[in-house]
């Protein structure tokens, strides 16, 4: 068979709680260290231990990172799914299985290249500790695979040392396990059968391998976020937890004072209410959550909108409705975020597409939130947030914080009066003071009820209508402040694709597959829509929005916003919980009839 170089995927089928994560990381990072672009996806169940989990690693010189429908190599470590796991294998692929699991090769499909390895037996050579065995068994398949892929021993060794930095004691035993795996393959698999290899390249220099949640967490640190309250929920918990970790490293004074505060709240209602309190009092405050949390936060988010309090809500989307699939990805909270709460509310929403944007948007979101004095959402998703992506290194922010229109004591001293909700500048955005400001003019009364420009309670009809109109004026201002879309004009104006968020990660490959590299595409970065969005749609005859939800939520927002263009706008949706697969998406787009959603 022909040799595949730097373009393949491997799936490891195992059970969760088996400690395979660090082995998979080492595998992935070893490829990365070879200078070859790589990405990793974990498909895991919503429980803690013992159920099937699949980790897929894709290496691609072109930098493609989309999910592959099948893999070149499958490593089957889970007895319960071993037959089912053949479905992950590409025709002609190699199926490595743990034959220490009382498997019966006679049940295997015919004509498939298989390699049984008795990992359990091999592991006995490495250690006697049952605890350690459970972990090291995984390092043996790392060895087997890196041997097949012809990744030099020293690269794997370096990766191990990187991975276990600070735990020098485990270096040797891990290396030993790897080598046992390598030896086994050398002895038991004929070279011709390998077929796939990693060749050194120079494509990962200055890149990092990171997940979106860690990136967002770091972004919040550099965005000056100093207060966070959160309630644990998959797949967002790791964002909050790594924010705390980063702060503990980067935001503690030498005498131990923490320049941040983090409260694990009793529920999401309290989490967002603490954020509102902290934002009101002048801290950059955020919360992390997922769909169910957004539903629970709706009332307080409405208050923040109406009382004009900044705060950022990071939603790592998972499959809805309801509890849905906590460990599956989705873009199903677009409407829930943009229209969160009753009455006439609407909110800016950012759609980061890459780890780098996770980092950058944390900062942009706070700038917008404090400038516009309104809650701002960031919608990531499980795929972007919890999986591993190659990314450019994050850049140190070029601009300082925009803390918006805050009047300090010194400012008040120059004023004769202060009206909290007056539209002094005509942009719909009023000035605010912070509680604790040492000046008689500073104090005002915040409320979620009708209020005059002077922040007094009022039921007067004109006053209310004026207030609502000013908030609309502010909305118009916000449109000028959100990032413009990323546009690539195609060869003609007939068709265009629009997408947002993590879908970006598959678009290049998608267009390649479809042979439509010259079609116009636009990536939305934020809602409300920048004026360029409208212009782009105006310029094209038909616009298809690629969405990872059921009802074409972005399409709904767009049609509502652009009535005269609505007939052009439809959505191609996908709602099965899996990260988008470019091949499948391409087929769906081709087969697309008049199904307008």
């Amino acid at each position: 068979m022909s040799q595949i170089v730097n373009d393949f995927s491997v799936t490891v089928a195992t059970v969760n709680g088996s400690g395979s994560q660090s082995a998979n990381n080492i595998l992935m990072r070893s490829i990365f260290k070879m200078g070859v672009p790589v990405s990793g996806k974990n498909l895991f169940p919503s429980n803690i231990a013992g159920l099937p989990t699949w980790f897929s690693i894709r290496a691609s010189e072109k930098g493609y990172v989309g999910r592959k429908p099948s893999s070149d190599i499958v490593i089957a470590m889970n007895r319960d799914t071993i037959i089912e796991d053949f479905q992950w294998l590409k025709p002609g692929g190699l199926f490595i299985y743990n034959d220490g699991l009382r498997t019966n090769p006679e049940e295997f499909p015919e004509g498939v290249r298989t390699l049984g390895i008795n990992f359990n037996d091999l592991c006995k050579e490495v250690t006697k500790s049952i605890q350690l065995k459970k972990l090291l068994v995984n390092m043996i398949y790392v060895g087997a695979l890196t041997e097949i892929l012809q990744i030099p021993e020293h690269v794997v060794a370096e990766t191990i040392e990187h991975q276990f930095k600070g735990k020098e004691s485990v270096f040797e035993i891990n290396k030993k396990a790897v080598n046992i795996g390598r030896e086994y393959v050398k002895e038991n698999l004929s070279k011709e059968d390998w077929g796939i290899k990693v060749e050194e390249r120079n494509l990962t220099r200055d890149k990092i391998l990171i997940d979106g949640n860690t990136s967002g967490a770091l972004g919040f640190v550099y965005a000056g976020c100093s207060f966070a309250s959160w309630y644990p929920i998959t797949p967002s918990s790791s964002l909050a937890e790594s924010f705390e970790d980063f702060c503990n490293k980067l935001r503690v004074t030498s005498d131990g004072q923490k320049q941040f505060s983090m409260v694990q709240s009793e529920d999401e209602l309290s989490a967002i209410s603490m954020v509102a309190g902290a934002g009101w009092a002048g801290a950059r405050a955020m919360t992390t959550t997922s769909g169910p949390g957004i539903s629970l936060m709706a009332e307080t988010i409405g208050l923040m909108y109406f009382a004009e309090i900044p705060g950022v809500i990071w939603d790592v989307q998972r499959m809805g409705p309801s509890t849905g699939l906590p460990t599956r990805t989705s873009q199903g909270d677009v409407l829930a975020a943009a229209r969160c709460s009753h009455g006439d509310t609407r909110h800016p929403v950012f759609f980061p597409a890459t780890p780098k944007e996770c980092f950058d948007f944390a900062n942009l979101a706070f700038d917008l939130s404090e400038r516009a004095q309104t809650p701002v959402f960031i919608l990531s998703d499980l795929d972007l947030g919890m999986n591993f992506w190659m990314s450019d290194r994050f850049e140190y922010p070029k601009t300082g914080f925009d803390r918006g229109k805050v009047l300090k004591k010194e400012d008040l001293e120059k004023l004769e009066s202060f009206a909290r909700y007056a539209d002094v500048d005509g942009d719909g955005i009023p000035y605010r003071t912070l509680p604790g400001t040492d000046h008689d003019l500073a104090a005002y009364f915040t409320r979620g009820t009708g209020h005059t420009p002077e922040a007094k309670y009022s039921e007067a009809p004109d006053n209310y209508q004026n207030l609502m109109n000013r908030l609309d004026r502010k909305w118009e201002t916000i449109k000028t402040m959100v990032p413009s879309p990323e546009v690539r004009e195609g060869k003609d104006n007939k068709k265009a694709y629009v997408y947002f968020g993590s879908t970006d990660l598959v678009v290049e490959e998608l267009l390649d597959i479809m042979g439509e590299k010259d079609v116009s595409v636009m990536r939305l970065k934020a809602y409300p829509f920048h004026n360029d969005v409208k212009e782009f749609i105006e310029a094209h005859d038909e616009v298809v929005i690629i969405e990872q939800n059921q009802h074409g939520q972005m399409g709904e927002l767009m049609r509502a916003e652009f009535p005269s263009l609505a007939r052009k706008i439809s959505s191609q949706t996908n709602c099965d919980g899996l990260p988008l697969c470019p091949e499948i998406l391409a087929t769906n787009l081709k087969n697309r009839g008049q199904h307008v959603n």
Binding site: V263, S273, A283, Y396, H439
Partner: protein, 337 residues
């Protein structure tokens, strides 16, 4: 015109005109808060008043006009105040809530705030009904008491004071809206407590719960109320008057003291949670309102301390402090390379 140590007159502690029913207990509490803060010479600029929703939660508009205020959402005063306090630890927070606000919709937030011991004063203006929505029972309505319509409450009532002790609160008191002598020193002491100081103030709703079947009417309170102690507040600099000989002195953070003088046969150790619980359970069994300071615990650490929170308020930290350096970013990046 007399002024306090800050040179402010009492008027400086007042607020807008009340829009509550005339005779409402809440208005009296407003008055006592004004007195307490005036007497204690609290700087209004440093105070933040935070409330939920209800007639009671409207009252922050009626005092301390020079302080920032927030009439927030029904049941969300507790978490809102937590966030505000952590963002600016220098704020002296006065939380005002109602029995509906704290014992029904806000019960979770109430309990969890107490568990965390957020430094602030937490006052519930307790009338046993939802005043603002026209007199439905709240969760503090006593079992067997009736609505104006005659309907009888069959559910167990929540005693916010014993619940507060249960949740680890270190300053737990009950008073009555009509009792300036008791409430003013309590509020003054609460303002100096380094943790959550909780005061449950029985505050009759003249419009919906001042009828004979109510156990929180003016008449019922008058009949059933007794004081555990008579209270005196002694400022830090003040000398301890001879009157207080034999009184228990509870020392507060700034060195001021609350003097507890025995009334009648009552004497329980305010530092013993079990003794406090006993007083509460017995009063309930005997259908009486015990008022006074039930429980005091000075040593308890609070949320600000637990978190080793920056001495400078977070809200005052600027970019140079909040944003780590480029070098630090590069170090982090290296870990992911």
């Amino acid at each position: 015109m007399s002024t306090n140590a800050l040179g402010l007159d009492r008027k400086s502690y007042m607020g807008a005109k009340s829009t509550l029913c005339s005779g409402c207990g809440h208005d009296s509490i407003t008055n006592h808060i004004i007195s307490a803060l005036y007497k204690s010479s609290i700087d209004p600029h440093k105070v933040a008043k935070i409330s939920g929703i209800g007639c009671s939660s409207k009252t922050p508009t009626y005092f301390l006009e020079k302080s920032a205020g927030f009439n927030s959402l029904h049941g969300r005063m507790a978490p809102l105040a937590t966030g505000a306090k952590m963002a600016n630890r220098d704020l002296k927070i006065i939380g005002i809530s109602g029995d509906g606000d704290s014992a029904s919709i806000g019960l979770g937030g109430f309990c969890h705030l107490l568990r965390r011991n957020v430094p602030m004063v937490y006052i519930v203006e307790n009338n046993g009904v939802y005043g603002l929505t026209k007199g439905q029972f709240s969760a503090t309505a006593d079992e067997g008491s009736s609505r104006k319509s005659g309907e009888i409450n069959t559910y167990s009532s929540i005693d916010l004071c014993s619940l507060a002790i249960e949740m680890g609160c270190g300053f737990v008191a009950r008073s009555f809206s009509g009792d300036a002598k008791q409430l003013v020193p309590l509020v003054r002491a609460a303002m100096e407590y380094e943790g959550t100081a909780f005061i449950d103030v029985i505050s009759p709703c003249v419009t919906f719960a001042n009828h004979p079947g109510s156990t929180k009417s003016y008449d019922a309170v008058k009949e059933r109320k007794f004081q555990l102690q008579s209270l005196g507040y002694i400022e830090a600099k003040e000398e301890i008057a001879v009157d207080y000989e034999g009184s228990t002195l509870v020392e507060l953070h700034d060195g001021s003291k609350l003097a507890l003088t025995k009334v009648d046969e009552h004497s329980h150790d305010v530092h013993d949670p079990q003794a406090a619980m006993k007083v509460l359970i017995e009063a309930k069994q005997q259908n009486e309102f015990a008022t006074g300071l039930f429980y005091f615990d000075k040593k308890h650490s609070n949320l600000v301390q637990d978190e080793s929170l920056s001495v400078k308020p977070l809200s005052e930290l600027d970019e140079s402090t909040l944003r780590p350096t480029e070098e630090q970013l590069n170090e982090v990046m290296a870990q992911f390379a």
